[in-house]
């Protein structure tokens, strides 16, 4: 390390960069956007001692890191923020937990090899082909609340529905989506949350159940292939370990059982909340549904469900005027980047007619760009279409507390109580 490189202990108290590090609470979502807006002005990067990450706040810097996979590794992307105790790791190994990083948390050439197989199924054209089935599912969920007076939209729609759509891709039938949801929440907490040691140890058996469920799914497809993701991967592997191993396929299935719905549940609830907070916007969509696709983009921009994503430097580097050493961990604030005034006029305003909403970074950027974006967009659009059409007078029930579940990377309301007919 050269002299010129900055150690966080070098940052004098009182300067904006130090101040930002003290004030930033990575697990607290209340007020986070306001704080980031302030930092974005003159603190493009700062050190957060609570998590030992450098936080990047501007869009151009976030994108430059995401695009530079040669210098910035994705291996930390899903690493537990609170390291797992060695006993937990040992127990998992003993019980046959062989999950490996195959996708979002691995680098080329491995990433390139695996992504090329996944691409055969998770590509825009194939995802588009689920359109009619997705529509039918959304309609059935909306029909189920018809006739009620008040409902919690998270509980009734946004929580389960994306899981059922994930099941379409995976060919899963006959399992309670709530079981997958609770397994997923547990995994999210273990990776991106701040669980206590007791919570970590207590999670082991559920984590194993989730893993075994994914493995069973792949084993079943070996015997009975269908038109689904694991079957596609098995065919693409063609029995050749140098192409793709069975354990990689199990890990990919395990990964998709989380990636394909957790984010979408949050993203749909986030945008619905913003719309319901602005009755004039809801009304505008009722009157002109052609505004809905751009509303989806504005929702993703304004309240991205993935608020931050992680990278680690493979060599010494300079970013936003600061020189940092190899091994530095970066927390790229997608939430901040997508509101950067350098690109978005009045970035902190929610505007369903915003011209450049679609240029947000909610789905990342570069070689790890979200492979489910087309179907995520499709389901959020359909949820808004069906809800505005069925309940033109829907309103948020006033004064109900809306809590945001607190993990490092994801954001979404835990409930959304509404009166369906105003």
């Amino acid at each position: 390390m050269t002299q010129a490189q900055l150690q966080h202990s070098d940052i004098p108290a009182g300067v904006p960069m130090h101040d930002a590090g003290e004030r930033f609470h990575p697990f607290e979502h209340e007020g986070m956007h306001q704080l980031l807006a302030e930092f974005r002005q003159d603190v493009p990067i700062f050190y957060s001692p609570l998590i030992d990450y450098w936080v990047v706040t501007r869009r151009a810097d976030v994108i430059s890191v995401l695009r530079d996979h040669e210098r910035f590794s994705a291996v930390v992307a899903t690493q537990p923020v609170v390291p797992w105790p060695p006993e937990l790791l040992q127990y998992l190994v003993d019980q046959g937990f062989t999950n490996e990083s195959v996708q979002v948390a691995c680098d080329p050439p491995r990433h390139t090899r695996i992504r090329s197989h996944v691409q055969g199924f998770l590509n825009p054209k194939k995802l588009q082909s689920f359109e009619a089935e997705v529509r039918a599912l959304v309609q059935s969920y909306v029909a189920a609340i018809n006739g009620k007076d008040t409902v919690d939209l998270v509980d009734a729609i946004t929580y389960e529905l994306p899981a059922l759509i994930a099941f379409l891709l995976l060919g899963v039938k006959d399992i309670d989506p709530r079981r997958i949801k609770s397994w997923t929440e547990l995994r999210v907490k273990l990776m991106h949350g701040h669980p206590t040691r007791e919570e970590q140890m207590a999670a082991a058996d559920d984590l194993l159940d989730f893993w075994r469920f994914s493995c069973d799914l792949v084993e079943q497809r070996k015997v009975n292939p269908g038109d689904d993701y694991p079957s596609w991967l098995l065919a693409s592997r063609g029995g050749d370990d140098t192409r793709l191993t069975e354990n990689e396929i199990k890990s990919l299935t395990f990964a998709l059982l989380l990636a394909a719905h957790e984010t979408t549940s949050n993203a749909s609830a986030n945008v619905l909340l913003e719309l319901l907070r602005r009755p004039e916007d809801w009304q505008a969509l009722v009157e002109d549904p052609s505004l809905i696709p751009n509303t989806v983009e504005e929702g993703l921009r304004y309240v991205s469900s993935v608020v931050a994503w992680r990278r680690m430097a493979k060599e010494d580097f300079e970013l936003a005027g600061v020189s940092l050493p190899k091994g530095t961990k970066l927390l790229l604030s997608l939430a901040s980047a997508s509101r950067d005034e350098g690109t978005y006029e009045n970035g902190d305003n929610f505007d369903i007619r915003r011209k450049n909403a679609r240029s947000h970074v909610a789905f990342g950027n570069g070689i790890h760009f979200c492979m489910g974006a087309p179907i995520a967009r499709m389901q959020i659009r359909m949820m808004i279409e069906e809800l505005t059409s069925a309940f033109p007078n829907m309103t948020l029930i006033p004064d109900e507390e809306i809590e945001i579940a607190g993990v490092l990377t994801f954001r979404g309301p835990t409930r959304l109580p509404v009166r369906l007919n105003g």
């Binding site: 695009r67 996979h69 588009q128 950027n365 570069g366 070689i367 492979m371």
Partner: protein, 111 residues
């Protein structure tokens, strides 16, 4: 093989031209990104998942270079601006010497 310089130009939707230089083996998308050429979003960094790196080539260059793969042809079905006979995904064009002098036109929008 020794890398060679390849010069060609981008033409924006409004007709502004920008001469650029890349090395053989680079993709047209990379050259656009490295030169700050606007209008090539290329969200997925060349992994053929996004369709936001769409460009049109001049006919002669289109015919001279390797034809698009099946996967690329499929992706061209979903691009945002109207697809034309010389449409390509810029991330799938690897520079060879025969790309010298090509005209790469950027469509009105990428999404």
């Amino acid at each position: 093989m020794e890398k060679q310089k390849v010069r060609f130009e981008f033409v924006t939707f409004t007709g502004e031209r920008q001469e650029v230089e890349g090395m053989t083996g680079d993709t047209v998308m990379q050259v656009a990104y490295d030169n700050g050429v606007e209008g090539v979003a290329a969200e997925c960094g060349g992994s053929m998942s996004c369709g936001t790196c769409h460009v049109f080539l001049d006919e002669a260059s289109f015919d001279r270079i390797d034809a698009p793969s099946e996967g690329e042809v499929d992706m061209l079905d979903i691009v945002a601006s109207e697809r034309r006979p010389t449409s390509r995904l810029s991330c799938q064009i690897k520079l060879e010497e025969n790309f010298t002098g090509a005209k790469v036109m950027i469509p009105e929008m990428q999404y």
